[in-house]
């Protein structure tokens, strides 16, 4: 009788271990969909979409902070389901800036830095494939220099970084980030009238 009981305990332990392995896989695979601490949720928690928020050295109430003491960072959440988004920033002499576009699951959609941009100036349009097709047909003159980026996910966020190698660059970098815009691009309204 005790032997049968020991076998039963062993069986339940093995069942438990198999269950633990299954649960491990389920959590790892589902965590990205349910996490409330992921980067997109935090960027959304910064405030309303379509504007840049500067990050400080201490984590803000959304939980985001600068990752590097020499890099100033700004984030902007976007939703291009209504219309394309245009990102612009004049370059007043920052030694290095870079932009990363992520979708809502934090997968990289597009990235660019000042050397790969046109003339060191940030001018990027993010659009869905359908919007991009009509944009290319219309060819608005305002977008002649813009880099057109196609995203299949309508929602996502943008990270803009600017380098501060020495404290004397802080003003230029700060100006670059505060002048950066992240606004919906309204080109259809003009063609309608």
């Amino acid at each position: 009788m005790p032997r049968i009981f020991a076998l039963q305990v062993l069986f339940s332990v093995v069942t438990g271990l198999i269950g633990a392995a299954l649960l491990h896989l389920v959590i790892v695979l589902l965590l990205p969909d349910f996490s409330e601490r992921d980067a997109y949720t935090r960027v959304l928690a910064e405030g309303e979409s379509h504007r840049f928020y500067r990050l400080g050295e201490k984590p803000d109430r959304a939980g985001l902070s600068k990752d590097d003491p020499f890099v100033d960072t700004a984030v902007c959440a976007f939703d291009v389901s209504e219309g394309p988004l245009r990102l612009t920033a004049p370059n007043g002499g920052v030694p290095f800036w870079s932009l990363a576009v992520y979708d809502q699951s934090s997968n990289e959609v597009f990235s660019i830095n000042d050397r790969t941009s046109a003339g060191g100036v940030l001018d990027v349009v993010i659009a869905t494939p359908v919007q991009l097709t009509s944009l290319r047909q219309a060819q608005p003159p305002a977008l002649s220099q813009s880099i057109l980026v196609e995203t299949t996910q309508a929602e996502g966020y943008v990270v803009l970084r600017s380098l501060v190698p020495q404290p004397s660059f802080a003003d230029i970098a700060s100006q670059f980030l505060s002048q950066a815009t992240c606004t919906p691009f309204e080109w259809r309204s003009r063609s309608r009238f």
């Binding site: 649960l23 491990h24 695979l29 980067a39 935090r42 870079s98 990363a100 990235s111 790969t116």
Partner: protein
């Protein structure tokens, strides 16, 4: 009489306890598979892409960090020295050599889980490629210690283990598998205590 409920309770306790515990440990221990290791340094060039493995995706969803995209830079971290011993603030280290090609790099030390140091701190807790003094062929020699040292000095946390973070900005190596051939600076221990 209570045998069946007891057995079910054992199975459930192991399943839930073990499943949750092993997941927490796995997500805490590593950023995922696909690491590039160069000496003591490791980097995850695909952690921010859609090609990342499920562990990497899970880790980044849980950590909520803003990762560097491929045109921005690549982050190398080191928690051990060249011999494999853990980096600790009780010892002094030398960091010598070259970084892979990059337009700019930054280097700082922080305790595991601690935020990066402030650029305004009184001690040189973070260095970058424009600050360091170099020798004739462009190599550098940085002394990492909790107490002040001549030359290039990186102040590290006074006690306990720390982790070095070397970020290469605009580096052609971020998207390349040729990274394996590249050389990273060596981390050598020079002495411990007051030596």
């Amino acid at each position: 009489m209570f045998r069946v409920p007891f057995l079910i309770a054992i199975a459930l306790a192991i399943a839930f306890g073990g499943g949750i515990w092993s997941t927490l440990v796995a997500l805490d221990a590593t950023i995922g598979f696909g690491a590039i290791r160069l000496g003591a340094w490791e980097a995850f060039p695909e952690a921010q892409t859609a090609k990342a493995d499920p562990y990497a995706k899970s880790h980044r969803a849980n950590a909520g960090k803003l990762l560097y995209a491929s045109a921005e830079g690549l982050v190398f971290t080191a928690a051990v020295d060249e011999t494999g011993a853990r980096l600790t603030g009780n010892c002094s280290y030398r960091l010598t050599g070259h970084t892979p090609p990059a337009r700019f790099w930054t280097l700082f030390a922080a305790a595991p889980g601690a935020p990066p140091p402030s650029a305004q701190s009184d001690l040189p807790r973070a260095l970058n490629s424009r600050m360091v003094l170099r020798d004739g062929d462009g190599g550098f020699d940085i002394v990492m210690s909790a107490t002040a040292k001549p030359g290039n000095w990186l102040a590290v946390p006074e006690a306990g283990p720390f982790r070095l973070t070397l970020t290469l900005f605009d580096t052609p190596t971020a998207g390349s598998s040729g990274l394996i051939d590249l050389s990273m600076p060596r981390i050598e221990r020079t002495g411990c205590g007051n030596a």
